[in-house]
């Protein structure tokens, strides 16, 4: 029977782990819920330290009610996944506090096999894999701890062993088991805290909350000859209401205009974003199922991107000859009577020039002459004529400010223009030859329309900070301080230290392989691999593997049950069994003396040895006296001798 103290410390450990999980997922759950969880942990801790008494049923019910309220109010029904996961976490935490018996504690441990993997809903990189694995090991160890009352250290050892034993099986299952696409989609499981959004007003953002979270990776074929700068077009904001740039409803309209393929295809591996948009350079088509091209030439999916996904991108060129009336209206639309200064400026330039290129040149001159500067922490501009204020007063901003101002002035001059948000650049991994694009690479620029020719890209940020166009933002030395300030505590912050950078790159590599070979190991890749490995028989393989797996499970179970009996047996009994096994199956059911009699009648020549062996055996098993070392050795020798002779 497990002692109360042990049960207490083991449930305390579980609660602490819940606390850790809720801290790590604070971005998803919100601060209120995490604080509530931490309060529960504190409560449990004080129960454990015997500062307060264990909760009554009434109190637990009250707490449960409070947790439900907190979840509903703080997380709400719009984030269903967060809501349900947090409810589960809260329920388990309360159950852990309440657990008084071994059975209750055990049920919580079993539940944890569902609770911990929920972490994957929010993050699927290698680090979270390792974290969840560690949680599972601790969970297994706790189960052993409760069940067998063994020391935690040896329980951990055993649990790790169990898990390591299970890993090859898991690997085989990943490779061989038929791939079924998920039965349901998680609706927007991931809130984008950083990076892009469909609806932006750059002037209201005082500080870009940047993160070093990976967005996607791109792998270019060797002959692609892609050259930076890489503008990853993601969202086209063509609706402007005077303050915010929005994505119009046409974003999901499939491309109908004629197009032709240009250049070699490349591969993009996107991280789950909970959104429908994807990433591509310029205009693109994709052969991957479920990926469509909209009429802007960017890629999108029908469903939310809830798990890591790999897709092929083929660059295309859409003939941009005509523009329909409503499109023209939409892309030149400006609310009246805002930003009078900017409007006047645009009118003046428009009158002074006769083509768009000259107009843009004048705009560029303005930005350069008035010493605009690039900053990641600009002052917020919240008045109505934000662009005017920016252009004439603050003159400090990031890509969004420049892009929004430029697009506004283009529209003011009657040139169709729109804001584009996406990513710029990416970090190149030389060893594996791929680009990694992080959230901090998010960028905004402008596209303007030239009649009979099509849309052109314009990046006004480049006038102010030309370095920004080369590589990744992380490589921009000029902004090092600001950039790192924004990033907070992350490996990237300390990437100037050689060791830290090396570790960061290793993790990055590992993560790449993990994404490539595990997360994105889909049906197509599976059949390709199986075909390579097994030739024409590959089609039979999944069925065969399921069959073999079932047999293996059956055998393993049988073997385990057998072993379980043997494993606790002392040496003497094992020997006795071995001897009996040679003589006959049923002998081990007899008492030692009955077995001795039977053995003696079967092997009269061995009577003396059998007698002596039995003497030691009985002494070791039933008497209070222990066998001396010499006697034990003698017994073993006798046992082996008997088996050897009996076999003859």
């Amino acid at each position: 029977m497990i002692s109360d103290k042990l049960l207490g410390s083991q449930t305390l450990l579980t609660t602490l782990l819940y606390g850790l999980v809720s801290i790590l997922l604070v971005d998803s759950f919100g601060l209120v819920f995490t604080c509530a969880m931490l309060l529960i942990v504190l409560f449990k801790l004080s129960i454990h330290k015997q500062l307060v008494k264990g909760p009554s049923e009434k109190l637990i019910n009250l707490l449960a009610f409070t947790i439900i309220l907190v979840v509903f109010v703080a997380i709400g029904f719009s984030n269903l996944v967060e809501m349900f996961v947090s409810l589960l976490l809260g329920a388990c935490a309360l159950k852990t506090i309440q657990a008084k018996t071994k059975k209750q504690a055990m049920s919580v441990q079993l539940l944890n096999f569902f609770v911990y993997p929920c972490f994957f809903i929010f993050s699927q990189n290698v680090l979270s894999l390792l974290f969840v694995l560690a949680l599972l090991v601790i969970n297994l160890a706790q189960m052993l701890w409760i069940e067998h009352d063994i020391e935690l250290r040896s329980a951990m050892k055993q649990a790790t062993k169990h898990l390591l034993l299970a890993l090859p099986l898991a690997a085989i299952m990943v490779v061989l088991l038929p791939k079924v696409s998920p039965f349901w989609q998680l609706p927007g499981a991931k809130k984008t805290q950083t990076g892009l959004s469909e609806d932006i007003d750059p002037f209201e953002i005082s500080e870009l909350s940047r993160s070093d979270e990976l967005v996607f990776r791109a792998i270019f074929p060797e002959n692609a000859q892609m050259k930076p700068p890489f503008y990853w077009r993601t969202l086209i904001h063509d609706k402007f209401d005077g303050k915010r740039w929005r994505v119009s409803a046409h974003h999901d309209v499939p491309l109908q205009a004629p197009y032709r393929a240009v250049g070699a295809s490349y591969t993009v591996i996107a991280r789950p974003s909970g959104k429908t948009w994807l990433y591509n350079l310029g205009q693109a088509k994709s052969a991957t199922r479920g990926v469509n091209t909209n009429h802007f030439g960017t890629l999108f999916m029908q469903n939310h991107l809830s798990s890591s996904m790999e897709y092929q991108v083929t660059p295309i060129h859409v003939s941009g000859a005509g523009m329909v009336n409503w499109q023209y209206r939409l892309n030149t639309a400006l609310p009246e009577e805002i930003n009078p200064l900017a409007t006047a400026m645009a009118m003046r330039w428009d009158n002074a020039t006769d083509n768009t290129a000259d107009f843009i040149e004048l705009m560029k001159q303005y930005f350069i002459e008035h010493r605009f500067s690039y900053s990641l922490k600009p002052a917020t501009i919240s008045d109505r004529d934000s662009i005017d204020t920016f252009l004439t007063e603050t003159r400090e901003g990031f890509c969004g400010h420049y892009a929004a101002s430029a697009a506004f002035m283009l529209r003011a001059a009657g040139i169709p223009a729109r804001l584009v948000s996406g990513y710029l650049g990416g970090e190149y991994n030389e060893e594996r030859e791929y680009y990694s694009v992080y959230q901090y690479d998010a960028h905004a620029w402008v596209e303007y329309y030239v009649p009979q020719q099509g849309w052109y890209r314009l990046d006004p940020t480049a006038w102010v900070a030309p370095d920004r166009l080369i590589g990744s933002l992380s490589e921009l030395t000029q902004l090092e301080e600001e950039f790192k300030d924004n990033l907070g505590l992350s490996l990237m912050t300390y990437s100037n230290l050689a060791l830290v950078n090396w570790i960061r790159l290793q993790i990055e590599q590992l993560d790449y392989q993990w994404t490539r070979w595990v997360l994105n190991f889909d049906h197509q890749k599976q059949s390709r691999l199986l075909r390579d490995l097994f030739g024409q028989y590959h089609r039979l393989l999944p069925a065969l593997s399921v069959f073999l797996l079932l047999i293996a499970i059956f055998i393993a179970r049988f073997w385990y049950l057998q072993r379980k009996q043997l494993v606790k047996l002392p040496e003497a009994v094992k020997l006795h069994h071995a001897i009996c096994k040679i003589a006959g199956d049923e002998l081990h059911k007899l008492t030692p003396s009955q077995a001795l009699l039977s053995l003696k009648s079967q092997y009269p020549g061995l009577s003396q040895e059998l007698e002596e062996f039995n003497q030691y055996f009985v002494k070791s098993r039933f008497s209070r006296a222990q066998l001396t070392k010499a006697e034990a050795t003698r017994m073993k020798a006798l046992g082996r001798l008997i088996i050897k002779k009996a076999k003859k």
Binding site: H588, K589, T591, P592, V618, R621, F622, S623, R624
Partner: protein, 303 residues
Amino acid sequence: MNKTTEAIINQLSELILGKEEQIRLAVVCLLCKGHLLIEDLPGMGKTTLSHGLANVLGLSYQRVQFTSDLLPADITGSSVFNTQQQSFDFHPGPIFSQVLLADEINRASPKTQSALLEAMEERQVTVDGKTHPLPEPFFVIATQNPLHQSGTHPLPESQLDRFFLRISLGYPDEHAEKTLILGNNLQRQHLSELSCVLDLTALAVLQQTVVAVNLSDSVVQYIINLVNFTRYSGQFSDPLSPRASIALGLATRAYALTQGRDYALPDDVQAVFAAVAGHRLNISANELDDVVKGIFDNVAVVL
């Protein structure tokens, strides 16, 4: 230890031929401070065994023939008015002896039976509100005829449990019977010639030694498995109680002691199992062997 118990058994074996195992069980019962029930047909040597046991141990012996008109007071004793002293004097009955043979217990009325059984349990007799302790040791050997014999009041299950062991002597083998017929073994004469092999203190020491016999974990587990089998196999309407498992453990120890060992073996469990469990499982002596064999076949020995 071995020598003392061996001497008792040897002595009695000369008296009752070819029944060494039953005699050993009777000694086991005595060592465990239990009471013995012998179920058998008349004339099998029940009386001889009990009398012999008393003689060998040097204990006082009384025999009560149970009949249908036997009253409780006939065994416990009664108070008689003493005219000289103007008070009631207690005249103890035959129960106030160290070895009491309750012959053919199932012939007596249930009332008398329970008077005896109560005294066995409590080791004291209460008459007219006064409690009289019974002598130490107090060993009851009850005999009963097989239930199918007419005119019997069978002991109820609850009362049967008060007997530590039940044995039956059974028919003697051919050799023993020959000896008996030829009269070479004159029992009654021999009885008085039996030498007392140990005194009361030695017996008390012996009884204490029983508990010191090592009952290893595996033997305990074997006992538990056996008891559980009677409980969960569904084959028995009266499964073994914890009192029965305690008795089984104790008897196993005593049996090991009579074999001269200070540790018990699974063999010891098997040797006493029928005697301890038979009457508690409500199995008649005839069927006992088969049923017990069935149990042993189903429950593996724990080594």
